[in-house]
Symmetry: C2
Subunit: 483 residues, 2 copies
């Protein structure tokens, strides 16, 4: 069965010329051109599809063979299966009628960046293993410091620095590990004795991160009527925990919570963290992108005394998943905690101390060239294009909020700091659920429902790259006619 | 500065028609076609470039502006910068002369899969948020169970299941967290009292994972003359740790260690783990791909009593980074440990218990559609194409090993289980380092050096997708002429 390797030239030469050669570059060129056309047409046609396809559990698997093919298939078959298998089984996150969860944006420049990164196929675990991947990442994240007006010390050219993590969950977990080690060194406490603090409205990644990190306790503290953290609740809980012999280790605040996009009072929480010697991490996964515009920056006052921060260009800055920016005010504890240096990775550049080795800035070792898509996005939109997108989304969301406020049967339950509108039907949970169900049954729109203290509410998150004012207006028509 | 949102239709409409619109789909089509041609030409031209470009720290950053552009740039400028900035700053991982580290493979079908996933832009955190992403992943990983002949119970249709993780580091860390929680429930021990065991030759991710997980201790135990773990060393250390009041929690074994691709004795280590009630995780990041061929499967005997396992299609199965497969023999402890269910993610499909929600199988929440590229690769190569590639690489590596064995001044230090050849110059460390330096100075090849107990050795890892027999022969010529 095994041909003599000595008789072979390329590594995967087909057995017969009738079989497609997966390494034929001219075939790749043609296949890729065909796929580019398919993708362009898919995106152009989204508006005429349902935002979610109707599919039952197991339906997709039933369309697939029971085992991998023995012989190579041609790309024509895969392209056909995008239409036969994949598209009929998707929820179309890039659909202009996507108002669910938070956006997971993509954009043409970002797709080009993903394609370029995939084609180059480099792995940037260290500067030496592809200097351009490291230096473009460092430079672009330094650009973002100015673009978002976050503290200058977060630049790699100052004391801090940025790194692209896979997601905000990962960034938050990474911050928690650094916080745990800092706390251990300072206090001698065990992880089991440590406490993480955040609000009840923080993203589930705070709870999951605390679990991964091994913190003995996480406090999900009560919020105010705007769903924002209450500093006094943190102070009281910290004092109570200290009385019980526990050690506060981590404080997580949010700029744009998941349920209602609430903003925590960063200055007050930051002061508490500083005076109590607790690591202060800010999860701005959603809200952070808005800071390209000056008018939202009052929501990020207090960052000067923050230890770490994350926001997701893959939510609302036109960049494909995965792309989450993590900044630290001081890169030393991050690197000291995460640096493991086996002999097979030693190289002169690392030994010189003159370069960034991003393997020491995150949990994994290997890493794709994620900065490329972010670089393409920032250049293709320009700062003004990104501001325009954010302002449009916020403007349309606030327009929707005004209509909800004017409607006799609907009630908004949270401020519209960004582009998320949260509201209820006055007739209660069943009516709220029924309204969301009716809106989604239309097929053109997808909204999600959450709940707070047993009150169900509809979330309309404006932020798909392809959403236009018309889509928001049509969504309102469907809401109003079903309310 | 902010135009009236009510006057805008699309979200990022340019200020003037002279500015390129990043959301113009027909422009995207043309840009993507141009980029496809650029990538094809880049890959076709790699053989005539140096495998690593000559670049000094800071050189790439100096080519970039100090801040993000205010106005949108055209893609023409980005395409030009791939040539001006990016390519001159890379180590070309896809170069046919890449013999460094382990391969980080890419292939044309995988690039197509990356492009398709980027274009679709879906986020598969739950079945409901894109059923096809979940079901294709589950089905393709079940295919791989048969293709690699790993235990049937690892299928999602049985008790276990597979999930694509970003990398083996992440998979190993995830396994450690599950092991920690299982140990805590069973023994009541704190993480600080727990011990992880592996060999001194295990990948650095074992040490880093133990740090992230918060294990109080990790034992990097001595190996035999073939760099494989010694079961008796594990038994002795476990007994000593128990006498000292510690709790063994995790045992990591390797199929293809990083330094020399050694294989640990899985059956013996598995028996130890079972009798001592320790979680047994196998890191087959490198070696696992070889199991498409029957003749390597004696290296994976003993998997029947393993708890978790990881291997990287992004190393040696023609799939772009990131793509690491993680299997568990029993999915319940994984899901029970990692499941966090906030109200904003509730949906009928999840509530029904009939679907896989991959958010509960890994640390992050959001996830890209990584299964698409793996699906494309398995179909485009077919099982026989993948076997052919592996057999060629191993055959060429063993041919090189024979020549090294016959050379009077060179000595191989480890068996060639797969496609990694490790050897020294008989004149000692300085001569070994000088040899590697001379080989790399040629420019056509990149080999790396590691060390074991202060002995430096050269690693030749055959496995770039584009390597042919000719490249291995030319590499040998350069080695021989410099030895």
């Amino acid at each position: 069965m095994s041909p003599d390797p000595d008789q072979q030239d390329t590594a995967a030469m087909p057995q017969t010329s009738a079989v497609p050669d997966p390494l034929d570059l001219e075939a790749f060129r043609g296949n890729a051109h065909a796929l580019v056309d398919w993708i362009t047409d898919y995106l152009a046609g989204l508006d005429s599809r349902p935002v979610r396809e109707s599919v039952e559990p197991g339906e997709i698997r039933n369309k697939l063979p029971d085992c991998a093919p023995e012989a190579a298939e041609s790309f024509t078959e895969m392209l056909a299966d995008l239409d036969r298998v994949v598209v009929p089984g998707l929820a179309h996150w890039q659909h202009p009628g996507w108002f669910a969860f938070f956006p997971c944006q993509s954009s043409p420049p970002s797709v080009l960046g993903e394609l370029a990164a995939a084609g180059l196929g480099v792995q940037g675990m260290m500067w030496a293993t592809s200097p351009a991947a490291t230096e473009i990442e460092a430079q672009v994240l330094d650009w973002l410091v100015d673009l978002l007006n976050v503290p200058q010390r977060w630049k790699t050219t100052a004391e801090g620095g940025g790194v692209i993590q896979a997601g905000a969950s990962t960034a938050t977990h990474t911050a928690m590990v650094v916080a745990r080690e800092a706390c251990r060194q300072r206090s001698g406490a065990s992880a089991e004795e440590m406490v993480a603090y955040t609000s009840s409205q923080a993203h589930s990644s705070l709870e999951k991160g605390a679990l991964l990190t091994g913190f003995g306790h996480i406090r999900l503290l009560d919020v105010d009527s705007d769903f924002a953290a209450k500093p006094e609740a943190f102070l009281e809980q910290i004092a109570a925990d200290r009385r019980n012999g526990l050690t506060p280790a981590f404080l997580g605040s949010s700029v744009g919570t998941t349920a209602t996009a609430a903003v925590d009072p960063l200055p007050a929480l930051g002061e508490i963290a500083r005076s109590e010697q607790i690591w202060h991490h800010v999860d701005a996964a959603y809200g952070g992108s808005a800071m390209v515009c000056d008018e939202f920056r009052h929501h990020q006052q207090g960052l000067e005394i923050v230890d770490s921060y994350t926001f997701n260009p893959h939510k609302w800055l036109a960049t494909n998943i995965e792309c989450s920016v993590m900044w630290v005010a001081d890169r030393r504890p991050l690197i000291e905690t995460l640096s493991v240096k086996p002999p097979y990775l030693r190289n002169p550049a690392s030994d010189s101390g003159q370069v960034i080795d991003y393997r020491d800035w995150h949990a994994p070792l290997g890493r794709p060239f994620r900065a490329l898509k972010l670089w393409f996005v920032l250049r293709s939109f320009g700062a003004e294009g990104l501001r325009q997108m954010i302002r449009n989304h916020v403007g349309w969301a606030r327009g929707l909020a005004t209509r909800i406020d004017e409607h006799p049967r609907l009630e908004r339950i949270a401020p519209v700091h960004f582009a998320l509108v949260s509201f209820v039907h006055n007739d209660g949970n069943a009516a709220t659920d029924a309204l969301a169900k009716a809106v989604n049954a239309d097929g053109r729109f997808f909204v999600t429902v959450s709940e707070h203290q047993e009150q169900r509410f509809v979330r309309v998150s404006v932020g798909s790259t392809w959403t236009t004012k018309r889509h928001v207006e049509q969504l309102w028509d469907v809401i109003a006619s079903n309310a």
